[in-house]
């Protein structure tokens, strides 16, 4: 009798232990990423940056506080946002292979940015029009999708997914039109924006993204238990007390906020939204009170490391971080597909 009870407690304890491990690994990863870069900052200088700033050469101080640290933090926030959105969408659609792109926000954001480049408006509003256009584009796409968030009589979620597929197809063809018609200049800008990059990180962007992460994260956290109950099926979840239509709306809104903001500042970065939550589930089990923080930490660390590679592997040149996440994520995704499916429909 006791064995069964111990098994459950031990398993729960193990999961919590792993979460704490991730949480303690996180500041170490941030520290390592802050210490490494094209400009050499030794450990002594790193220490002095906080302890005795006057002893550090001015340029090192400028590089660390104005260039490297905001960039590392932006990468962490973008990775966290994408991973959280992915966890929410995977839980909502009861599919571990779901990606936040399903709800059309990534394509919408890309379209917003591409339109901005097309008309040459990217420099307006002190450079803030571009992220604003991307964010608005993402939101418009989600609003269109929201029209299909009706009751959950059999197949409500399936209808939503199909609507998302159609929406993505339409956005894709609109994107194609703008890409085809763009001037050479604009086309090159568009191409590099869609590859994704954390290089444009400055403190205002970091603060704005932090706010969006907090709001989106809170929305998801509020619905953590409901997401758990949804795994029994939507009707059964409703019988357990879940307001399915409301939860769907809140998860999608949260995902739109998180992905919209992340894409606005860093371009389209793939795979984090898919890979990080799945890794969290493998490590921590399926309850969202563990998966959400786990995905946040894993997503942040993944992108911080990918960005570290983007800015050091070919230094002094920059690599597109979106390529690095695909290089890491692609093989992992294939491996995931080969594993025996542990997620029942």
């Amino acid at each position: 009798m006791n064995t069964a009870r111990e098994n459950d407690s031990r398993r729960r304890g193990r999961a919590h232990g792993r979460l704490w491990l991730l949480a303690s690994l996180f500041p170490l990863v941030l520290l390592a990423a802050s210490a490494l870069g094209a400009v050499n900052i030794g450990l002594a200088d790193l220490w002095n940056l906080v302890a005795a700033p006057a002893q550090v050469p001015e340029i090192v101080r400028a590089v660390f506080w104005e260039i490297r640290l905001p960039r590392v933090l932006l990468a962490a926030l973008v990775g966290a946002a994408l991973a959280l959105a992915g966890a929410g969408v995977q839980g909502l659609f009861r599919n571990p292979l779901a990606d936040p792109a399903l709800i059309g926000v990534s394509a919408g954001a890309a379209l917003g940015a591409v339109v901005c480049f097309f008309f040459g408006w990217e420099g307006l509003l002190g450079g803030w029009l571009l992220p604003l256009a991307a964010f608005v584009g993402g939101w418009l796409a989600v609003l269109v999708l929201g029209i299909f968030n009706t009751g959950f009589a059999a197949g409500g979620t399936a209808k939503l997914i199909l609507a998302g597929v159609a929406l993505n197809a339409m956005l894709g063809s609109a994107l194609g039109f703008f890409l085809f018609s763009a001037s050479d200049d604009a086309l090159r800008s568009m191409t590099f924006w869609t590859l994704g990059s954390c290089a444009s990180a400055q403190w205002p962007q970091v603060v704005v993204l932090l706010i969006f992460l907090a709001i989106g994260g809170m929305l998801l956290w509020r619905n953590a238990r409901s997401l758990d109950a949804l795994q029994f099926g939507e009707e059964q979840a409703a019988h357990l007390g879940v307001s399915v239509v409301r939860v769907r709306r809140e998860i999608i809104v949260a995902a739109a906020l998180l992905v919209g903001a992340a894409t606005a500042f860093a371009g389209t970065i793939g795979f984090i939204g898919l890979v990080a939550p799945h890794m969290a589930r493998l490590l921590l089990g399926g309850l969202h009170r563990l998966v959400l923080p786990g995905a946040l930490l894993l997503g942040a660390m993944l992108l911080v490391l990918a960005d570290l590679g983007a800015r050091t592997l070919a230094a002094p040149a920059e690599l597109a971080v979106g390529i690095l996440t695909a290089v890491i994520g692609g093989p992992f995704f294939l491996w995931l597909l080969r594993r025996p499916s542990s997620w029942s429909a």
Binding site: R5, E6, D8, D228
Partner: protein
């Protein structure tokens, strides 16, 4: 204030889908202390009736009153505190242990502290405690059905409140022993003051455990009343179109069904 005497009353439920009538002026009541079984041929509308009773579907005509109030006036959470429903289609999650699944039965109750001990107690009562730490995806169909039942009952337990239990074919995957165990538990809950309604296919089990039987055919109530009255071979043979016989074993009575002689 919530009355301590739960009740679920349906009056004149009529529902059509795509001009096809599914339910036609169905009225019934689930009262505390009684185990009501709903039986009838496939396609009679039993599951649809349950969906309407539980507030999931809105009927075209008629109304459902939960504890004296229109059921549509309840929020899902409030409804879940008074009425626990076990559906037939119950997706099995992975990454969740049996104990965690049963704990989720307490979702609507918001008092997180008593969720785990209550869930443990439920598993003990249902003789499922050995499975507490197992991942739900690694249960057999029958084990999962029993866990789902435990979760459903967990929704109603705790404090002195009694509520309503709606079950859609709760024993379809269980072996005979566990069928008796689960339905016995359901009857015990009825006796303890809850109101229980179960859709059942097994005539024998129905005759044994139900207090009242509602016989649904082609969307209408064909007959309803005490189990002894309704569970008669002649009536059942007619409704189901096969040969239903009664067998006596000492003081107990069992119903069996056999194919019609011509079809045999």
């Amino acid at each position: 204030m919530i009355p301590n005497v739960p009740s679920l009353v349906a009056e004149g439920i009529t529902l059509s889908r795509d001009t096809r009538p599914i339910l036609d002026h169905v009225s019934l009541a689930v009262t505390p202390g009684k185990f009501v079984a709903v039986i009838g041929p496939n396609g009679a509308g039993k599951t649809t009736l349950l969906s309407v009773l539980s507030g999931l579907l809105k009927a075209d005509d008629g109304r459902v009153m939960l504890n004296g109030r229109e059921i549509s006036g309840y929020s899902p959470a409030e409804r879940a505190r008074h009425c626990a429903v076990m559906r037939q289609d119950n997706a099995r999650p992975s990454g969740m242990t049996v104990l965690e699944a049963v704990e989720l039965g307490r979702l609507a109750h918001n008092a997180a502290d008593d969720a785990r001990p209550l869930a443990r107690e439920m598993l003990r009562q249902m003789d499922l405690f050995d499975l507490a730490g197992r991942d739900c995806s690694r249960l057999s169909g029958g084990e999962w059905q029993r866990v789902a039942f435990a979760r459903t009952v967990a929704q109603l337990s705790g404090a002195e409140t009694s509520g309503l239990l709606l079950l859609d074919e709760p024993v379809s995957s269980l072996d005979p022993l566990h069928q008796h165990q689960l339905l016995g538990e359901a009857r015990r809950l009825a006796r303890a003051g809850h109101g229980v309604l179960a859709i059942l296919h097994d005539l024998n089990l129905t005759a044994h455990y139900a207090d009242e039987v509602v016989l649904l055919a082609a969307g209408r109530i064909h007959s309803s009343g005490p189990a002894a009255e309704i569970m008669q071979p002649a009536l059942l043979s007619e409704i189901y179109g096969c040969h239903v016989r009664e067998i006596r074993d000492g003081g107990q009575r069992a119903l069996i069904s056999l194919p019609l002689p011509s079809a045999g």
